[in-house]
Amino acid sequence: MLDQLQKLGATALGVAERLGRGHLFLWHVLGGFPALLPRFGLVITQLFSVGVLSLLIIAVSGLFVGMVLALQGYNTLVDFGATESLGTMVALALVRELGPVVGGLLFAGRAGSALTAEIGLMKATEQLSAMEMMAVDPLHRVVAPRFMAGILAMPLLAAIFSALGVIGGYFVAVGLLGVDDGAFWSQMQAKVDLHEDILNGVIKSIVFGFVVTWIAVFEGYDTVPTSEGVSRATTNTVVHGSLAILGLDFILTALMFG
């Protein structure tokens, strides 16, 4: 009985300690942001690996999600003779939810895991310690550019996801299913609000980008410096990042559209 209680307490303390370390880590990394501005090349290099290399999976997924949404939505809407609303449905679903959320999940899987593995291996091979020996702060030199790149890349990726999804939905709805071209766009424009829908979607994607990148770089930096530890940290990034996105999405949706 007492042993169980002790185990529970130890777990709770471990979680609290890790949370605390995560926040101190965040504070320290954010402190390195001003110094990045004159050396923006570092961020650009990371934007390439975080953003450009994620582009293919995001673009293809967005296109197909939009196409499938249009196909499935059509089946329901056709019963009510409301197929012109297909554009509204596809656009709202993508801009409000699927763009930021599915984009964020893909981002966690594609870019987050790579960030964790990279930083974790740097730690395992003692590159980070070597930097400290040379009085270079690895949090500022290694982590901060990656963190900033993640925050910058995520809203762009989510926007590309949504835009391509709308285009995919357009091709299926107008090209395949014979929905009227003008009604598709005009209904969409009448119902989708720039401030209410699109801006809130962008805010969501910024929050998700922040959280996923934070989890990714922290897991990498905090990893047990063995090959097993790096593998576990990479898994943790994807799992915790995805859970964080889904949980935060519920809260944000309740706040924004509730």
């Binding site: 650009i44 953003g51 450009v52 590309i160 835009a163």
Partner: protein, 154 residues
């Protein structure tokens, strides 16, 4: 940094693509004119029953959207609904004795306010009140009246 130049070009392309996507979403998918909408003047109208009218429902004149419902309140004295309409400032020549009716778009569609031009020289401005109003048609009431009139015939 062996491929520094090509890396930078790719990142540039990525940023351009992202911006283009955002631009497309705001221009093509949403209605960009939503930004200018807040500039306008507000007039009030009292309705006996507003049905399913909501804030941000359109206000139309001859079918053209000229404004939106800004707020809906309840008047404690007259037990009527007070609806504040925000009319875009470019429509500054609507006669003051215009009438406002609540219509339904289609059979089951959303409800909106339709304005019908009156005849006076005075125009609506900030703070004006629309005197002539017609309430929303509540389907249940009409069905009820129909049933009663049918029963009376027999």
């Amino acid at each position: 940094m062996m491929h520094s130049r090509s890396v930078q070009i790719w990142v540039g392309l990525f940023v351009v693509a992202g911006m283009a996507a955002l631009l497309m979403l705001s221009m093509k998918v949403s209605n960009i004119s939503a930004f200018t909408e807040s500039e306008g003047f507000e007039v009030t109208a009292y309705f006996e029953n507003i049905g399913g009218l909501k804030v941000r429902s359109p206000v139309t004149m001859a079918g053209v959207v000229v404004g939106r419902v800004a707020s809906i309140g309840f008047d404690r004295e007259s037990y009527e609904a007070v609806v504040t309409l925000n009319i875009q400032s470019e429509y500054d020549n609507i006669p003051e004795d215009s009438s406002a009716s609540i219509f339904t778009a289609g059979l089951l569609g959303e409800q909106y306010i339709g304005l019908e031009a009156g005849g006076t020289e005075d125009v609506l401005k900030e703070g004006s009140e629309l005197e002539l109003t017609q309430s929303a048609i509540v389907l249940e009431q009409i069905i009820g009246q129909f049933l009663v009139s049918q029963a009376d015939k027999e």
